[in-house]
């Protein structure tokens, strides 16, 4: 019987043994490296700030930390489960609920410079203060161009706006369509206005959908035979019937088409993704167009002359966009934001000067001089808006 020691291991086996030794050494080295890394990470977390919640107060009740990521260890030394919150005004920035008595939990919060409040257990307990001081890094990042993540909020909110305004348009067109169906001319004329306002709030975004937008909003000028052209439909065909021909006759089919197209418009607006760089440029384009042609000519609502309410609706959407970007702009270019706000207030004041208790006066009664004033103010606002994309690095 040969002893095992006398057998020479096959060549492959020797390689395998050598290989596993190397793997083991490599694994050991990796493990050492990883544990060092973890230790370093733990060290970074060792700068935890401990807040102890007593039955009637927090300790400390006044904190000052540098901007950036901070770790708070909340120790519940009271007899009830508590929640701990960092508040910016009434808004919760970070919170942990149900910290059991005698236990502690860690909360990591990324904080921007400013003054916050911290809750301390029972609702009736006095709140503590949390002062976050700027750091070189926080100041640099405030000036830097915002990351794409920063646009998720504003773009989402704009999509929600398109959804609600889309619903408003459908409802308004539905009402208009019913008035036309019953042949109620006065009612149909009255309902044309709110339907147009709803459309004008969507117009900046709708203009991206060329064909559908034409079906909804094209003026007679774009058709070979103008008003008599069989292709002429949409809002302005209805306007022509109601205000120029003073009749609801034959408008039912246009109203039904318009309703179907309004439904389609909402669907398509929600399906389209809007890049951050377009959010401002679509409203700026609408205002440039207002300044360059619509204000002077009054061509948009040439039969009903309700142009002013459309201008105001355009401005509302513009303001919505500015408000959505306000937090980014305030950080990034406060001076530009100031200029935009001034220009938008001036345009609003100009439009308001045409308001009566019954609404805006009709545009055919507005003089060329005053039309020029509207145009100038719309241009000033559009020009200021053009500064946003470069300021935000878009």
């Amino acid at each position: 019987m040969p002893t095992p020691a006398s057998v020479t291991p096959p060549r492959a086996m020797r390689w395998a043994v050598a290989g596993s030794v190397i793997v083991m050494i490599a694994a050991g080295a990796l493990f050492y490296y990883a544990s060092q890394l973890a230790a370093a990470k733990r060290k970074a977390h060792s700068s935890e700030i401990t807040v102890t919640i007593h039955p009637h107060s927090c300790e400390p009740d006044s904190l000052s930390v540098p901007a950036g990521v901070n770790s708070f260890r909340i120790v519940n030394a009271s007899e009830r489960a508590v929640e701990w919150e960092i508040l910016d005004g009434v808004l919760v920035v970070e919170e942990r609920e149900n910290i059991a008595p005698g236990l502690s939990q860690v909360i990591n919060a990324t904080l921007a410079p400013g003054d916050y409040a911290i809750t301390c257990g029972l609702l009736s307990n006095p709140r503590g203060t949390l002062h976050v001081t700027p750091t070189a890094q926080s100041q640099a990042s405030a000036k830097a161009r915002p990351s794409l993540v920063a646009f998720i909020g504003p773009l989402s909110e704009f999509r929600v706006y398109l959804n609600s305004q889309g619903n408003a348009l459908i409802t308004a067109v539905d009402a208009l369509s019913q008035a036309i169906a019953t042949g109620d001319l006065a009612q149909a004329r009255a309902l044309y206005l709110p339907a147009r306002e709803a459309y004008q709030r969507l117009a900046p975004a709708a203009q991206r959908l060329a064909e559908l937008d034409n079906a909804i909003n094209a003026r007679a000028d774009y058709f070979e035979k103008r008003e008599q052209d069989p292709g002429f439909g949409g809002f302005h065909r209805i306007e022509y019937g109601l205000f120029s021909q003073s009749s609801t006759q034959g408008l039912g089919v246009f109203a039904q088409q318009l309703h179907a197209n309004a439904v389609l418009l909402k669907q398509q607006l929600l399906a389209q993704s809007l890049p951050p760089g377009q959010l401002v440029s679509i409203v700026a384009r609408t205002l440039h167009n207002l300044a360059d042609t619509r204000a002077g000519s009054g061509e948009e609502e040439r039969y009903s002359h309700i142009d002013l309410s459309g201008f105001a609706a355009n401005l509302q959407t513009t303001r919505k966009v500015v408000d959505l970007l306000r937090p980014l702009l305030a950080k990034n270019n406060a001076e530009l934001l100031q200029r935009i706000d001034t220009a938008s207030t001036a345009l609003e004041a100009e439009l308001n000067s045409f308001k009566t208790p019954q609404g805006y006066i009709t545009y055919d009664t507005v003089s060329d001089l005053r039309r020029q004033a509207i145009s100038n103010k719309a241009k000033a606002l559009a020009d200021a808006l053009d500064g946003i994309d470069p300021a935000l690095g878009l």
Binding site: H56, V92, E97, S124, G153, S156, E157
Partner: protein, 274 residues
């Protein structure tokens, strides 16, 4: 054998690296789901406001039976959108604080909202003296509606909301603590679960792109929780009281609920929002 086992192992190791680590979600892909979530929250708030109106009307009319019946189905709309509702700390306290949050307990003058009214209806069997509390609740809910409408939803709060809802279930619903007078906790339970599942569903395609197995696991746990809760549904679409829940079912819920809370807490990281 040409290749050394070492090289072979390294190759195998590389092949084993999950591809998920390489696929990151583009931030702008989150715009659709975040906005759809706000639309969902807005709809839930409309329901909350309508139902609260009916509930508080019943309270003020002194219709104890109707008020008791409306209490739980009204609250459920608050529970489903809690990640957003509780961002407003003052309203969260006045609408949904529990007796434990107040030093003077039920006598505390600032103990208002659903649970204060619940106390009178179910513990004292009375609608006496609730007028002011009913009006206050209605007003607070309308205020919440307005504030939410004006709020740009922070994407990390939306995504993080799925986990916080399940944590809430784990911390306060399994023990039957939230609706301690009415024992209608199962409504709130379902509301929290539905709210968490809604968030997960909205981000499903982004999550599946990077981790199919994870999505399947989460789905399975949601299905388990829903199946157990469904056992306690009543004819009218409501739920049995919490004391009816069998011990083995309560225990069977703990595992999936905790796993969901844990798994969903990785969503922010998976979607690049940490």
């Amino acid at each position: 054998m040409k290749k050394t086992p070492f090289a072979l192992l390294i190759t195998l190791g590389l092949l084993h690296t999950p591809l998920s680590a390489l696929a990151a979600t583009a931030p702008l892909d989150l715009v659709g789901p975040v906005s759809d979530y706000k639309i969902y929250v807005t709809e839930q708030l409309d329901l909350l406001a309508d139902n609260t109106q009916q509930f508080t009307d019943a309270v003020k009319k002194g219709d104890l039976a109707a008020a008791k019946k409306l209490y739980a189905p009204t609250r459920v709309h608050y529970e489903s959108i809690e990640p957003i509702a509780e961002l407003f700390s003052d309203l969260d306290a006045s609408i949904d604080s529990r007796v434990d949050d107040h030093e003077q307990g039920v006598k505390a003058p600032d103990f208002t909202g659903f649970h204060r009214i619940e106390y009178s209806l179910f513990s004292e069997n009375s609608t006496q003296g609730l007028n002011e509390l009913a009006d206050g609740l209605s007003k607070d809910v309308q205020d919440l509606q307005k504030r939410v409408a004006g709020l740009t939803f922070p994407p990390e709060k939306v995504v993080g909301g799925a986990a916080s809802l399940m944590e809430e279930v784990a911390a306060t619903k399994i023990s039957g603590e939230e609706d301690r007078y009415s024992h209608t906790d199962l409504y709130d339970f379902q509301g929290n679960v539905d709210g968490a599942k809604k968030i997960f569903d909205l981000f499903r395609s982004q999550i599946q792109q990077s981790d199919q197995a994870f999505a399947a696991k989460v789905d399975k746990n949601f299905a388990t929780v829903d199946r157990i809760l469904a056992k306690y549904r009543t004819q009218d679409g409501g739920f049995e009281t919490y004391d009816k829940i069998k011990d083995n079912d309560r225990k069977a819920l703990i595992g999936p609920v905790n796993t969901l809370a844990e798994d969903l807490s990785t969503l922010r990281g998976k979607l690049g929002l940490n």
